[in-house]
């Protein structure tokens, strides 16, 4: 099953078992632009899988209202870049509702907003903005790397009861893998490869790049899976074992979430840390320019060598 199909199946299962779950967003009736809602409107009808106008702020704002009135909306934002048209509704309304309203209500919203580079999509359709959302109290931030995780983490996100920014990676949609109905908690990292010389913390598409770089080396590769809450225990235990930590992500390095992990590890353990993220450039359309924004396995390998030297 592909990563896109796994996400679709998770939503399908939730629609089947929980009458409070609804889907809303642009083009979802035709399966969504990446087919991550394929067949859902046919199965559950247009009142539960809701086609909307191109109105991002109201898609998100309405989801907040639906949530406060007892539903569990799954929101489609197309790409994270378009979620910026709904930032007030996500950040000032949805994320704050539970606290600000004195706990009278929660906002169980899952907002799917795919991230990442994707074949010439250029500066307004290629960003990885997970750090923006991890910075906001009230939001859960999830970035799955595999079909199984996309199924299990999306299921966990829909069940968690708080607003979740759910970030699938556009270059992973076609990735194939076995998918079971395995349940996973949010906030639990996955040790993808064990090792003793260094710890490599990463997430989303970069997990696969990191594995290429770490192949044949005794490097412990950790897929963080969830950026908030992030699995400090797993990361710190590995860091204590290896004594060296590299954090690698596709998002721009400056003020990226890698800085948070590196700082935490340094504060707690005082071990050597290093960050590797994208350069602070908009993503260019042309291949040579887009490639500059990509964090390659060679770059990760070079950073690992530096860390180990």
């Amino acid at each position: 099953m592909s990563y896109a199909e796994a996400g679709c199946e998770a939503v399908r299962a939730a629609l089947r078992t929980d009458p409070r779950v609804v889907v809303l967003g642009e083009d979802v009736g035709r399966g969504g632009i990446f087919q991550q809602y394929k067949g859902l409107q046919r199965e559950f009808g247009a009142t539960r899988v809701i086609d909307t106008p191109i109105s991002e702020s109201t898609i998100m704002g309405a989801a907040v209202g639906m949530a406060l009135a007892g539903l569990k909306p799954v929101v489609e934002m197309r790409v994270v870049d378009f979620a910026l048209c709904a930032m007030d509704e996500i950040v000032n309304q949805g994320a704050k509702a539970r606290y600000m309203l004195g706990g009278q209500a929660r906002a169980p919203i899952v907002a799917r907003m795919p991230i990442g580079l994707w074949r010439g999509s250029a500066a307004q359709h290629s960003q990885s903005l997970e750090a923006w959302f991890a910075h906001v109290p009230g939001l859960v931030v999830v970035a799955p790397a595999t079909p199984q995780d996309n199924y299990s983490l999306l299921a966990a996100a829909m069940a968690c009861g708080d607003p979740v920014v759910y970030m699938e990676h556009k270059e992973l949609w076609a990735l194939q893998g076995d998918v079971s109905s395995q349940r996973l908690p949010l906030g639990k990292a996955r040790v993808v490869q064990e090792g003793s010389d260094a710890t490599l913390v990463t997430w989303s598409r970069s997990v696969h790049t990191a594995l290429e770089a770490a192949a044949g080396h005794s490097v412990e590769v950790i897929d963080l899976r969830t950026l908030w809450p992030w699995d400090r225990d797993t990361v710190l235990a590995s860091a204590a074992k290896t004594g060296r930590v590299l954090v690698a992500h596709e998002a721009v390095q400056a003020a990226g979430f890698g800085a948070e992990i590196a700082a935490t590890v340094a504060e707690e353990l005082g071990v050597r840390v290093k960050r590797l993220g994208g350069p602070r450039i908009p993503v260019g359309y042309s291949r040579p320019l887009e490639d500059e924004a990509r964090v390659s396995s060679q770059a990760i390998m070079a950073a690992l060598k530096q860390l180990l030297s």
Binding site: K38, P53, S121, A122, H125, P279, Y285, P288
Partner: protein, 320 residues
């Protein structure tokens, strides 16, 4: 219009096997078509771009949409440099940084296509506000699609333009489809013109596939704008011949609806009125697009170092 059609057909051909959206496989990463990014074609909508822009002078400004090739050409931009941009080459308008969705040619007053629906509307209004502040005589034509009328910036931009009596022609190029969703099913009320009227922005509705009618209607409205009557609104009804992006077969549309629309081809409707010259115009357009394709294929790629330039002056191109 023949130039736009020829360009769109060539770009579509050059994008085949490109971005595989809509559930198609993205596994064939090795295959690299000449135009690799998302390509939104304006095929069938040429009458709107041509009809409006013929009433504009070079110093007038336009803002465009993600479906902006026609507006760009009609405003006088070079076909060759646009093709170079689609090919991602250094000689493109944006040096390969923008691609189809961000085409701009400031030398002819084309301030940019846009990857975000309705995002060009406040930009157009701001440009018109600058014109007012600087006591210039030019105007702004703001192209947007039918989907844009359901985004907040539509209301905010129209209101702003009216409050400050700005020289803007709002052109709703209504191709009936918001990506894969029928706009009509998602839009309340009596349509874009009624919304504009509610804000006090007057306008006209026109058959967007009748290029001469678009030309005549926009001429009237632009005359009012130049005469100091403030913002005006043109609702041009047309049809999107192709899918949302070039790889979208648009199978969600009713076959009869599409057939009817294809019969109502704005270019085919215009050619008999042009007469004998039509054939030579079409041939010239075909030759021009061939030259553009050849030039783009031969053009140099941007240097990787270019990824770090033109970001900001203070702290430009720094990694950290």
């Amino acid at each position: 219009m023949a130039r736009i059609r020829a360009f769109e057909n060539a770009a579509e051909e050059a994008s085949r096997g490109g971005v595989a959206a809509f559930g198609a496989s993205v596994s064939d990463a090795a295959f690299q078509p000449e135009v690799r990014g998302p390509l939104h074609l304006s095929t069938g909508q040429e009458g709107v771009a041509a009809g409006v822009c013929l009433n504009l002078a070079t110093e007038d400004l336009i803002t465009s949409t993600h479906r902006g090739h026609g507006h760009t050409l009609a405003k006088g931009a070079s076909m060759e440099r646009m093709m170079c941009e689609l090919f991602g080459r250094a000689t493109g308008f944006n040096g390969g940084k923008g691609g189809s969705m961000h085409i701009a040619d400031f030398s002819v007053g084309m301030l940019g296509a846009n990857g975000v629906v309705a995002a060009g509307m406040p930009i157009a209004v701001g440009a018109a506000h600058a014109i007012r502040i600087r006591h210039e005589n030019r105007i702004v034509a703001c192209f947007f699609g039918d989907g844009a009328v359901n985004r907040g910036p539509f209301l905010e931009a129209l209101n702003w333009a009216k409050v400050f009596a700005l020289p803007v022609l709002f052109v709703c190029e209504d191709n009936r489809w918001s990506a894969t969703t029928a706009t009509e099913a998602m839009t309340a009320g009596d349509g874009p013109l009624a919304r504009a009227a509610a804000i006090g922005v007057p306008g006209l509705q026109v058959d967007g596939n009748d290029a001469l009618a678009v030309h005549a209607s926009s001429r009237v409205l632009i005359g009012k704008i130049r005469g100091g009557e403030g913002p005006q609104f043109l609702h041009a009804v047309t049809y999107r011949f192709k899918g949302h992006v070039s790889v979208d077969p648009a199978a969600y549309r009713d076959g009869e609806e599409v057939d009817r629309a294809l019969q109502n081809d704005p270019l085919a409707a215009l050619e008999p009125q042009v007469g004998a010259e039509a054939l030579s115009i079409r041939n010239e357009a075909g030759a021009e697009v061939k030259r553009a394709l050849a030039a783009a294929a031969a053009a140099p790629w941007p240097e990787s170092a270019g990824a770090y330039t033109d970001i900001q002056h203070t702290g430009d191109g720094q990694w950290r």
